[in-house]
């Protein structure tokens, strides 16, 4: 009975600790549905573009990033934390049937990028704009004469899926078929999206992009990272190392600026900051639930162990009547229960791993990483719980007189 209960408790502890230690990473990945948290733009290009729609001349459009360098994003120190990235090339275009210019955006939809490291990475806008609702289909990067238009623009121009439109930009004219109409719920609803190569061709800017959105797994900001974000040079060497080697959003931005020529990487605070808040709360929640349920399990087990020892009052009485000293009797019982507990704990550990995987698979569709540090934690926990359960009851039994106990009172 004790072995079984210890096994239950140990499996509970194993499952909860494993889930708790991995929950930050998993939730962080889920929060990626909010889209990019870093925006990379060329140095000296300003957000004036977004505000006033001036994208030609005026020191805006002549600044670009190079498409060929984008693979380097996966070579930075925190390369593993870069989940997705998508380049954008913005231009103004004249659309047939409309008086005003529309914003034409070239991008990767689902692109396979060959990395300098020899690996490949599947990335693109499809992964990063999970909240878009699409009527029709997403474009693929090979669609040389198809486009996607925003819902508001489509309504204004009276377009529907399958229609053909002519777009004219920088003197180049192109007939495109509308493959999809999307609703993004923001300014993008007024834009036309085409594959990056098409936009580069139309605007005569081969191999160039205007901005890159990066989605990265980050650690919540703290005092150090805030100071670093203001000015990395203000840190001492040691602080700088800590900062550089932690996945703060400011550190990742800094590293992106190192690998891309003339680029400025800015954290999108709306996403970066909020991710930190939610992540912290979720971790704390899991931590508290874990601690409290472990406390419950511990109480339950030590309760049972106490009951188990009390039950053996007759045996102890007999041993004492036969002349056994207090110490050997205590050791005997303690060792017995500890061995039972160890067997139960080992069985419980593996059962707990199973529970953790069930939780991981159902909730996150991903395996929970098994942390080796859980083993000593569970072992110590089981040991302490058995000890607290045994010691008071053994002491109580030893204080009884053998004759009385044997008599059955």
């Amino acid at each position: 009975m004790i072995a079984f209960t210890v096994a239950l408790g140990a499996s509970l502890a194993t499952a909860m600790l494993n889930v708790m230690l991995d929950v930050g990473d998993k939730v962080n990945r889920e929060l990626k549905t909010y889209g990019a948290n870093i925006n990379v733009i060329p140095k000296e290009a300003s957000l004036l573009d977004d505000l006033y729609g001036v994208s030609e001349g005026h020191g805006v459009s002549d600044r670009h990033l190079r498409e060929s360098e984008l693979g380097r994003l996966k070579t930075i120190f925190w390369a593993f934390n870069i989940v997705d990235f998508t380049p954008y090339l913005n231009a103004e275009a004249r659309m047939s049937g409309l008086d005003a210019d529309v914003r034409l955006v070239g991008t990767w939809f689902s692109h396979r990028e060959a990395l300098p490291t020899g690996e490949t990475l599947d990335t693109g806008m499809r992964n990063m704009k999970s909240w878009w609702s699409i009527e029709g289909d997403w474009l693929s990067d090979g669609d040389a004469d198809a486009a996607m238009v925003g819902a508001l623009l489509a309504e204004r121009a009276g377009l529907s899926v399958g229609d053909a439109v002519a777009l004219e930009s920088a003197g180049a004219r192109r007939e495109l078929t509308i493959k999809g109409i999307f609703e993004a719920g923001s300014a993008e609803d007024e834009r036309v999206y085409v594959p990056l190569s098409v936009a580069q061709e139309m605007t005569g800017r081969p191999g160039l992009v205007s901005s890159v959105e990066v989605s990265a797994l980050t650690t919540p900001d703290n005092e150090l990272s805030r100071r670093a974000a203001q000015n990395p040079k203000s840190l001492s060497v040691k602080e700088w190392e800590t900062w550089y080697c932690t996945a703060y959003v400011s550190a990742i931005c800094y590293q992106i600026e190192e690998v891309l020529t003339d680029a400025v990487a800015k954290p999108i605070r709306q996403v970066a900051e909020s991710e930190g808040t939610i992540l912290k709360k979720t971790k704390l929640l899991m931590l508290l639930i874990t601690i409290l349920s472990l406390a419950g399990a511990a109480l339950g087990i030590s309760n049972l162990v106490t009951a188990g020892v009390m039950e053996r009052s007759r045996e102890i009485g007999l041993l004492k009547a036969l002349g056994a000293g207090n110490a050997p009797v205590s050791w005997l019982i303690l060792m017995e229960i500890l061995i039972t507990g160890a067997v139960g704990g080992a069985a419980g550990y593996f059962a707990g791993l199973g529970f953790a995987q069930i939780i991981g698979r159902t909730v996150f569709d991903a395996a929970i990483n098994i942390k080796p540090m859980v083993i000593p934690l569970v072992a110590i926990l089981v040991f302490l719980v058995i000890l607290t359960g045994c010691v008071p009851s053994i002491r109580l039994l030893l204080s009884l007189r053998p004759a009385e106990v044997l008599h059955g009172r």
């Binding site: 009975m1 079984f4 209960t5 239950l8 408790g9 509970l12 889930v19 939730v27 889920e30 929060l31 549905t33 909010y34 889209g35 300003s46 957000l47 004036l48 977004d50 505000l51 999970s130 909240w131 878009w132 609703e183 993004a184 719920g185 923001s186 203001q230 800015k266 954290p267 999108i268 605070r269 709306q270 970066a272 900051e273 909020s274 808040t277 939610i278 709360k281 979720t282 704390l284 929640l285 508290l288 639930i289 409290l292 349920s293 419950g296 399990a297 109480l299 339950g300 087990i301 309760n303 049972l304 009951a307 009390m310 039950e311 529970f355 069930i358 939780i359 159902t362 909730v363 996150f364």
Partner: protein, 376 residues
């Protein structure tokens, strides 16, 4: 002495005389019930609490004009009246105009700064949020271009919509960083803005509402109906993603709760079984004295039910404390007491204890009393 009163006497004296054994059992039941009611309370309260946290992402609902003009004050008030007051985190109206500083054009935004702080908690302000009239927040972009640190003064010039030129001094109280377009704006209080530009309607009203997508859609429908000229729009990026992440989180807590409950209930049951098994001798003695199986089972069941009831009640109280600890520590808010949960916890603990009693009692009654009494 009637049969009934004898029955109660036996149960109560069993509980009182066998103190240590019963205390063990009661403690086990109470712990189980505590974990049950505590975790379920937390689980029920999570969507509410987490939704508040998700408001860190900023506005999830915006009001714009349906006609292309600005939003009138009356129309805005009518629209805001459609949103349940308890769910509003913040409502910040915005007005935009172009102004000039050192003859360079910039965009000025007039807003209720206190509300803007609530709808956009992610703004990182170095310096202070403006407190009094005449002080403004400027975006990082603007600060870079005109090289103004926090605390410095500058003159804003321009012409208002009626064609009158103005020139006024302002103080920069803080510089705002967001990584988005807000960095190219100058934020003024509505009063300052009206002093420059005259009274006028709002260009956009940002609302941060603590409600799921379906409810936001219902609110949008009500706004369209009752406030003329107002077009409500959901910020889908925020609402959809929130729905997706929240579902995952809830599923996580649900599964964790289920696993913890399952294990705790088995734990409680084994403890109860151990306590009852210990009393096989007593059962044997009763049978030897001629008690029918039915009455023995009834007696143990009565004890179990009593224990389950007491433990359950204890557990409801402790469990609420436990949920409160989590609520206060994690979210900094009190959790709501789930009224329906109290009887459910008591019933569940009675069921588990009753069941856990029955199994060993049944096996004990099936054995020959002589064998049991001999202690085998």
């Amino acid at each position: 002495m009637t049969k009934k009163s004898m029955y109660f006497k036996m149960i109560t004296s069993a509980l009182i005389r066998r103190r240590s054994g019963m205390l063990v059992a009661l403690l086990a039941v109470a712990i189980g019930a505590t974990i049950l009611s505590g975790l379920v309370t937390v689980y029920c309260d999570i969507p509410n609490q987490m939704r508040q946290e998700f408001r860190a992402y900023g506005a999830n609902f915006i009001l714009v004009s349906a006609t292309g003009e600005t939003l009138g004050r009356d129309a805005t008030e009518a629209a805001v009246a459609c949103i349940p007051a308890s769910e509003i985190i913040g409502i910040a109206p915005y007005r935009y105009e172009t102004v000039k500083i050192n003859e360079q054009p910039f965009m000025a935004a007039g807003t209720d700064l206190a509300e803007a702080k609530k709808t956009s908690p992610y703004w990182f302000v170095s310096g202070e949020w403006p407190e009094e009239d005449g002080s403004v927040l400027i975006g990082q972009e603007v600060a870079d271009v005109i090289r103004l640190p926090a605390g410095s003064a500058f003159t804003m010039t321009g012409t208002n919509p009626r064609g009158e030129a103005f020139s006024r001094d302002f103080r920069v109280s803080g510089i705002v960083q967001t990584g988005g377009t807000e960095e190219a704006f100058i934020f003024l209080s509505l009063a300052d803005f009206a002093a420059l530009m005259g009274d006028g309607g709002f260009d956009v009203v940002e609302c941060s509402i603590s409600a799921p997508q379906a409810e936001l859609e219902a609110i949008a429908a009500r706004v369209t109906e009752s406030a003329e000229g107002v077009a409500p729009r959901l910020v889908t990026r925020v609402t959809r993603s929130e729905g997706a992440v929240l579902t995952k989180l809830q599923a996580l807590v649900f599964l964790v709760t289920a696993v913890v409950l399952l294990l705790t209930m088995i734990c409680v049951a084994t403890t109860m079984m151990a306590v009852v098994t210990e009393r096989r001798g007593e059962i044997g003695l009763k049978k030897a004295l001629g008690a029918p199986d039915g009455s023995i089972v009834a007696e143990f069941l009565g004890e179990g039910l009593f224990l389950g009831c007491m433990g359950g009640i204890l557990g409801v109280m402790l469990g609420f404390g436990f949920a409160q600890i989590i609520g206060v520590n994690v979210f900094g808010r009190a959790v709501h007491f789930q009224t329906a949960l109290a009887p459910a916890t008591v019933v569940a603990s009675i069921l588990v204890t009753g069941l856990a009693c029955l199994i060993p009692v049944r096996s004990a009654t099936e054995v020959d009393p002589a064998v049991v009494l001999r202690g085998e």
